[in-house]
Amino acid sequence: MGLGTVAEGDKRWWWNRNVIMVLWMMLSVGFCIGLHCHMRTESLRKAGETLTSMCEERARMLQEQFAVSVNHVHALAILVSTFHYQKNPPALDQVTFANYAARTSFERPLLNGVAYAQRVVHAERELFENQQGWMIKTMNREPSPVQDEYAPVIYSQETVSYIEALDMMSGEEDRENILRARATGKAVLTRPFRLLESNHLGVVLTFPVYLSGLPDDATAEERVKATAGYLGGAFDVESLVENLLHQLAGNQEIVVNVYDVTNASEPLTMYGVHLPDGHMSLSHVSMLDFGDPFRKHQMKCRYRKKPPVSLSSITTPSGIFVICMLVGYIGYAAWSHYDNVKEDFRKMEELKKQAEAADVAKSQFLATVSHEIRTPMNGVLGSMLDMLLDTDLNLTQMDYAQTAQVCGRALISLINEVLDRAKIEAGKLEIESVPFDLRSILDDVISLFSAKSREKGIELAVYVSDRVPTILTGDPGRFRQIITNLVGNSVKFTERGHVFVQVHLAEHVKMVIDAKTGLNGHANEVNITSATTVFSTLSGLEVANSRNTCESFKMLLSHGASLSCTFGSGSVPESIADKVTLMVSVEDTGIGIPVHAQDRVFAPFMQADSSTSRNYGGTGIGLSISKCLVELMGGKMNFTSRPHVGSTFTFTAVLQKCGKSSGVDTKRSLSEVLPTCFRGMRAILVDRQPVRAAVTKYHLRRLGIITEDVRTINEALHTLSGQNGYLNSSQPGKQPSIFLIEKDSWDPKIDFHTRNQLLQRKEAGHIEDVPKVVLFLTTESDKTRAGSHADSIIVKPLRASTIATCFQQMLGMGKCQNKDIVNNSASLRGLLDGKNILVVDDNKVNLRVAAAALKKYGAKVECVESGKSALSLLQPPHKFDACFMDVQMPEMDGFEATRQIRIMESTAYKEASPYDGSVMAIRHLPILAMTADVIQATYEECVKCGMDGYVSKPFEEAQLYQAVAKFVVSQQIPGSS
C-alpha cells in the first residue's frame, strides 16, 4: 500500500518533469520566434527610417534647386522688364538676351532653356509682325490663326531657339500657364508633358512680366492689364532629376518617382517608371513645393529590392534557442540525476537499515549464544569441577582438574571477549585498572595451549623478566586476551620448534639493544659455540628476528642478573615512575606470514590465505582486536616475519605500578598461590640450549629453587661432586636434591650411566642422597621412550605450578604442603570447627557476612563493632582462638587495636609467667586483618603492629583457608602435643 503510493507519486513526478520540459521547449520556441519577428520589424522600421530620410533629402534638394531656378527666372523677368520695357528704345535684343541667358545658365541647372514671349493683342499683331519681321506661328509652325491675343517668343536662349516666333498661347498647357501666371503674378508650372524637340517629360515654368511696378495687393484684372509678356523656361524633369539623384549616395537602392498630384485621383508621372503598387510595402512620399500653389507635386521613394532578412535576426534567436535547449537539457539531466541519486540514497538507506538490523541481530545472536554457552559452562566449572576438586583426588588428578577449571574459565572469558568485540567496534570498550599478577596470567595462557603444544610437539615457554614487578595495575582480562590471541596464532601456525613468550621492561630492552649496537662485534661471540645449523633459540630453530630476540635475550638475562640485587633492595630507578612499559614478544617458528600479506595482517577478518581450502581455520579477527586493545593500553603492536622461518609479534603496554604496597597480601590474593615449601632447595639443570635453560630457571626461581645450569650431564655430575666436596664442610644439607634434564640431553644409556654414577657416589659417601632425576619432555608420546629411569617426568609447557606439583609428588612432600594449594572446605571446616573467633568490624553488614562465613565452617563467632569493645573482650584470659580485625575503623583502627592487644598480652604474660603451661596458649592471639582494599593494607604494616595475616574482605574460601591454616595448624600442633 505504502509502496504503491510511493510509486504513484513517483510516476506523477516523472510525468511532471517531462511536461515541464515540453513547456520549456515551447516557451523557448515561442520566445525565439517572437524575437525573430521583433528583429525583423525593427530592421524594417530602420529601413523605413532610412528611406524616409533619403526621400526627404532628395525632395528637399530637388525643391531647393527648383526654387533657385525659379528665383533666377524671376530675376530674368525683372531684367526683361527693366531693360526691355523701361528703356526706350529697349536695351535688349535677341543677341543680348541669348548671350546673357547662356552665360547665366549655370544659375538654372534645372532649366534647359528660357525664353521670353511678348504679349501681343490682335490689334497690334500686324505692327508687331512688321516690327519683328516675321509672322506669329502656332506650335505646329503654321501661321497663327486669328486670336484675341498672342504670346510670341521674341527672345530665347540658344538651347531653345526653335521656339522663337512661336505663339505660346497656341499650346494648350502654355496658354493655361500664361493665363494663370499673369493673373497670380507668380511662377506657375504646367502639368508634365512631352517637351518639344527633346521629347522628354518636362514642365514649363512661366513667369509674368508686367509693364510697370504693380502693387503687391493688385487684383487679377490689374495684373492682366499690366502684363507685358511672359518669361518661360522648360524643366526637363526626367534628365534633371536623374542628374540630381546621381549626385547622392544610395542611388542604387531606391527608386524615386515624382508625380504631379494636382488631380489627386489621377497622379501624373513626372519622373520614374511606374511600378505596380502591391510590389513594395515600404515606400515614402514627400511633398514637393515648387512654388506654384496651384500644382501639387510629390516624391515617392521605394527600395529597389525587397530589404533582405537580416542574418542576425535568424542567428540570434536560433543561438538563443540552442542555449535554451542546452539549459533545458542540463536541467533535465540534473533533475533526473537528482532523482536517481535520491532513489539510490533511499535504497541505500533501506540497505543500511537492513544491515543495521542484521548487525543488531548478530549482536543479539552472539549475546544469546554466548549466554547459552555460558550457562552450561558455569555448570561444568562452577559446580562440577569445584565438586570434583573437593573430592579426594591424587595430585595429578588434582592438577588436571585444576587445569580443566582454568581452561574453562579462560573459555568463559573468551566468550565474554567475543561479546566485547562488539564494544570494541563501537569504541565503547574501556580498559580496567585493577591489580593483577602478570606471571600467573601467562601461566594460565600457557596451560590453555598446553594440550595443543604437546600434541604438536612444539615447545611452549614463558619468560618474564625479574625486573617486571609482580603485581601490576592494568586490565588483566585484556592483557590475557592479547597474549592468548598471539600465542593461539603462533601455536596454530607452528608445526615444529617453539613458541616463546617473553616479557621485559621496555626501557630495559631499549637499553640492552643500545648496548648491543655499541658492542656489535661482541654479540656474535655467543653464537660461536652453537653448531652450524643450530641457532641459539629456544628450540634451536631459526626465528624471524633472531638478532633482536636471541642475542638481546641473553643480554637481558645477564643484565637482569646483574641488576637483580639492586632491584631486590627496591631502589631501582624506574620504580620511581608510576608507569611501567612492558615489552611483550611472542616468537614462533611457524610458517610465517607471506610478504604480500604482511601489510594487512592487522586488518580484521584477514588471513594470509583467505581461500576456502586454507589449512588453518579461524576468523582472523583476533589480531585486529589485539591491536586495538594494545593501542587502548597505550602501546603499539608490530611484528617481523619471514616466511617458513617464523614470526615474532611484539607489543608494548603501559601499565601502572601497583601503589605503595605490592606486598605479599596482594600477590596472594591475585595470583595462583605457589607452594613455598621448595624455598632454598637446590637443583641442577642440564640443558644445551641456554635460552631454554633460562626459561626453566625462571620457573624454578619462582618456586624459590636455586638452580644451576650446565650443558651436559657429565658436567652436571662434575659439578655435583665438586660442590658436594665443597659444601660438605660448610653447608651440609644444601646439596642439590633435584636433577633436571632436558629431553635432548637424554637417552637411556646416559641415564643408566648417570644413575650408576650417582649411586656410586652415594656409596662412596660423597653425597648423602641420590638426587631425584626429573626429565622435561615436549610431547606425551616421549614418555614411553624415556623409560623408567627418571624419577619423574614433566611434560612441557612448563609452569611453576606444574613443576611444584610434580616435585611435591616426587619428594613425598605430599600431604602437609598439599593443603597449601588445595582449596578444601572440608579441611577448613576441620580447622575452624569449634573454635572461638572474635570478629571486629564497624560495618554491620560486613560483620554479619564474616560471621556467617566463619560459622559455616563450624566456628563459634562473636561479633563486636569497635576496637575498644574488642579490647575489653580480649582482656586476658579469654576464650578466643583467633580474631578477625577490620583495619579501617573509626576511633580505633585495626592496627591500633592489635597493638593494644599485644601490649595487653605481654603484660599478662609477664604477670602470669610463673604458670607457664596455661599462659602459652593465650600468649599470642592470632589476629588477622580484614580489608577490602587489598592494595592499601600492606603485609609489612600488618606484621609491624603484630598481626599474623590478612584476609581480603569479601571472604574467599581459599584465601580464608590459607590465612587460617597457617596459624591454626601451628597452634594446633603445640596445643595437641
Binding site: 554491620k844 556467617a852 577490620d886 574482605k953
Partner: protein, 149 residues
Amino acid sequence: MSLMALREQLNGLVNSMFLEGLLDDQFEQLQMLQDESSPGFIAELITLFCGDSERILAELTKLLDQAVVDYQKVDAFVHQLKGSSSSVGAQHVKLACVQFRQFCEEHNKEGCLCALNVVKHEYYLLRGKFDTMLQLEQRIQAYESKQQI
C-alpha cells in the same frame, strides 16, 4: 505448584541481577552461607545493608551539602559503604564507591556530588530489586511454614 513458581521467579530475579552485574560472586557465596540453620540470613543481611546504606547516603548528602566539605569524613563513609556493598556483593554500588573515593582523594566536590548521585542511583536500583527479592522470599517462607503446619 505455586511454591515452585515463586522459587523460579526468585531464581530468575537473582540470575538477572547476576547477568546485569548488579551482584557478583560474593552474593553467590552468601547464598551458599544460607542454609537450614539460618533461613533468613540473606534477608537479614539485605535489611542490614539497606539500613546502613541509607544512613550513610543521608550522611553523605548532608556532608556534601556543606560549603566546606570534610573530605576525610566523606571518605570514611564511602569506605564503609564500599565495605558493606562488597560484602553483600553489590558490585555496581561498590564500583561507584571506588570512583567516589577517587574524587574524594582529589577533593573534587563536583566529582563527589556526581559520584554520590551515581551511588544513589545504583543503590536505589539495587534496593528495588532487593525489595522484590525479599518479598518473594517472605512469600516462599510463608508458604513453606504453611506447608509444614
